[in-house]
Amino acid sequence: MSKTYQEINQRIKKGEAVVLTAEEVIDLAKEKGTDEVAKKVDVVTTGTFAPMCSSGLILNFGHSEPPIKMSKVWLNDVPAYAGLAAVDAYVGASEISTVRGFDYGGGHLIEDLVAGKRIKLHATAYATDCYPRKEITTFIDLNSINQAVLFNPRNAYQNYAAATNSSDKILHTYMGILLPRFGNVTYCSAGQLSPLLNDPCYRTIGVGTRIFLGGGEGYVAWEGTQHNPIRERADNGIPLGPAGTLALIGDIKGMNRNYLRGATFTRYGVSLAVGIGIPIPVLDEEMAFYVSVADADIYTSVLDYSVPSRSRPAIGRFSYAQLKSGQIEIEGKKVPAAPLSSYRKAREIAQTLKEWIASGKFLLTEPVRRLPLETTFKPLEVKEE
């Protein structure tokens, strides 16, 4: 029993496609088996909402009179990178305001822009014959500028290690506030709803895949940075730690603030929480097996963040079912476990995408290029020469 993208899209157009969320399909698989899932279901929708630091926005402001070749750009006092053509810039989600520090950064700027707020643009330049202006201060908003394209080099991590702290000090990390002496554990994945955990070997998610991004439409642009498909995997194909990643692209003009939120990690920095949903076609029984994965079948390691090294020691391995119960056991001690990733929003996203597809307005795309299954994630060595 197998289906093609064309057949599935035909059914979507006719309003006949059977679409379930990655949560709903688990129950069907448990009751009727994955062969029934392969027969009955056309598409399974996934979702995730969490801070993803490797995100940012490409902007084109248009030309002023007289024109300027912007070489330094600030948006609401957040520095943007302008080493591109005259009025293009890229602002990273983790860049912080020169005035407000960690209270405001690139992530908050993106949230404000998408919410329709007015943004202060300040730029300086060296004057040239064709671009005589040396400085500009003005206000822009989403409608006044030409392009505002989200381009996120690394999103939607396929699994992520959980964090804890064995030391006597409180730690402020990008995994949240970690209390001393194994006072808590934080984790950051939507687990059974997470996109790349429902297509662990990247059979259907590839370059060109149309997705839900920030409340609007986006695309998978490439493999994400640090893409590490060769991570150790369980028998079900699911990586046991951080593995694949996605680079995503999409016009923020169709997005909304519910799914793009500036975030501050106290004494660490700023970020952008991104809402992502990816549809997975149930092409055959293998895909039916993958999309039926449940939290109890997905494992990750808990790392000790008190060791400030790139290879932090692992304290143990736990399933998302254990983590999501709110408590795990470390060295005989019951430790509360809390998420950083919003499962409620992940659910909302998978549900929204399901409605888009069921109503016939969102068609699936066949990837134009597969994501690599072989690349490795190399460390950076410090060399003398």
Binding site: F49, A50, P51, D103, G176, I177, L179, N184, T186, R261, G262, A263, T264, F265, T266, S271, A273, K324, S325, G326, P336, A338, P339, L340, S341, S342, Y343, R344, K345, R347
Partner: protein, 135 residues
């Protein structure tokens, strides 16, 4: 048994008097001090929960007022801006009393004000700065 949460402001000259001691001794009230800011020769602030009979509580509050202590009932000290909450659950990682917890069916974060100790640990733990204190 009744419970009252109150904020006490002690004038400078009252900070060193054993007012709290009298409160428990003479009015038989159980006091749970939630937060204290008392420095010698400065204005002091105390947030506490009184447990006792209604009558005893009222008597105790009267005594406090007569001693020159300003008494306010505590209302909405910790505030969670519902409309901006992402329900991520990050705040639950640091809440020592279980006042903030995840409903594991709806996956929404719930704030149970009665359990809140006003420790404010949750404020810097919320990445979206949705939790505020009105202390």
């Amino acid at each position: 048994m009744a419970k009252r949460r109150i904020v006490l402001t002690f004038p400078k000259d009252q900070v060193e008097r054993p007012i709290i001691y009298r409160l428990s001794k003479d009015y038989d009230l159980v006091m749970n001090i939630l937060r204290a800011q008392v420095m010698p020769k400065e204005v002091g602030r105390l947030v506490m929960e009184l447990t006792g009979s209604k009558e005893e509580i009222n008597q105790g509050l009267k005594y406090l007022k007569e001693s020159g202590v300003e008494v306010e009932s505590m209302a909405q000290d910790i505030k969670l801006r519902e409309e901006d909450c992402t329900h991520c659950g990050a705040c639950t990682a640091v809440c020592p009393s279980g006042a903030l917890f995840l409903n594991r069916t709806t996956w929404e974060v719930v704030f149970d004000r009665d359990k809140c100790l006003l420790c404010e640990h949750c404020i810097p733990a919320c990445p979206y700065r949705v939790i505020e204190s009105t202390f």
